[in-house]
């Protein structure tokens, strides 16, 4: 078993209303030291495979399902072998 964490974020130029609204809320709480908040999601995926094929699995499920390439990009980290 290998645990992988896939991070999905908006591409650079995509408008992120959520991040914007949260930043404002943080400022209204008085935390002006916080300059910017970006929101992303991550998927913790448990894969039953060898190190070799895990990369292929991750690329496939990301591209087919987890990531919307019109707006998002992804990165992943192999966390540990469970």
């Amino acid at each position: 078993m290998i645990n992988v964490r896939i991070f999905v974020t908006y591409k650079e130029s995509v408008f992120d209303p959520q991040g914007e609204t949260i930043t404002e809320a943080i400022h209204s709480l008085g935390h002006d030291e916080v300059k910017q908040v970006h929101v992303g999601k991550f998927f913790d995926v448990q894969v039953d495979s060898s190190n070799k094929t895990v990369e292929k699995t991750i690329a496939e499920i990301s591209e087919q399902l987890l990531v919307n390439f019109n707006l998002e990009t992804y990165r992943y980290e192999i966390m540990e072998e469970a």
Binding site: P17, Q18, T21, I22, A25, S28, L29
Partner: protein
């Protein structure tokens, strides 16, 4: 009895609550901006449905930092009537005036339809005109209505009779114990996902929500008379 309908940025059922109270029940009701800091002169406050702050982050999470919230908390602590439907319910839980939280529906989808409910406590100021155990129909319209609380909290709620409405036949969102609406321990704060304010006129096909407002108005009047 004077009622405040709070308007947050992104509230959108504020009109519905106002009209239900004003036009249908002929109650004394006023809109109150989230920017105001006090609720003097009001006897009940209502938090409408909608998408306060776009429901960005979590439903109701940002609204609870509005200027008006401390006044609502104080209001609730004084035992005055506080009612939240849909996004209003979500705000009340985020603010800690009601226990638990509302998660994304199990279907992961917004759902708008009429569902069957059971009145499981008719001793609250909001439900005295319903019969105990009565089945009623009310519309729901939400994406985040799955009630969650930890085991001990749920046991508390059940023991104290704080569960006021429960889904019958079909649980539309995955709420634990089929919970559709709860009060605080004292019973003066009610939060519920269904929309009674959408069910107050025969023309729109449903009047089952009307008695909730009538109960509240009657109990408000009683309270006023007792105070005199």
């Amino acid at each position: 009895m004077k009622i405040a309908v709070v308007v947050f940025p992104g509230s959108n059922c504020d009109v519905d609550l106002y009209e239900a109270l004003h036009t249908v029940c002929h109650a004394d009701v006023e809109y109150v901006s989230h920017k105001q800091k006090n609720l003097t002169g009001f006897d009940a406050v209502m938090l409408p449905g909608g998408f306060s702050y776009g429901d960005y982050l979590r439903s109701g999470a940002i609204a609870r930092f509005s200027n008006i919230m401390p006044a609502i908390v104080e209001f609730a602590n004084e035992g005055k009537f506080v009612f939240g439907t849909c996004n209003g319910f979500q705000i009340l839980t985020e603010a800690g005036l009601l226990p638990g939280a509302l998660k994304k529906n199990n279907s992961l989808k917004f759902v708008c339809k009429e569902i069957e409910l059971k009145v499981t406590n008719n001793q609250t100021p909001f439900t005295t005109q319903y019969k105990m155990g009565e089945h009623i129909n009310l519309p729901i319209a939400h994406a985040d209505g799955s009630y969650y609380a930890e085991k001990e909290v749920l046991e508390e709620l059940e023991k104290n009779g704080q569960v006021v409405f429960r889904y019958m036949n079909e649980n539309p969102n995955g709420s634990l114990n089929d919970i559709a609406g709860i009060t605080n321990k004292k019973g003066n704060v009610l939060g519920m996902m269904p929309h009674p304010e959408r069910a107050v006129e025969a023309l729109l096909g449903n009047e089952d929500g009307l008695r909730l407002f009538k109960s509240l108005l009657a109990n408000g009047k009683k309270k006023e008379e007792a105070a005199r």
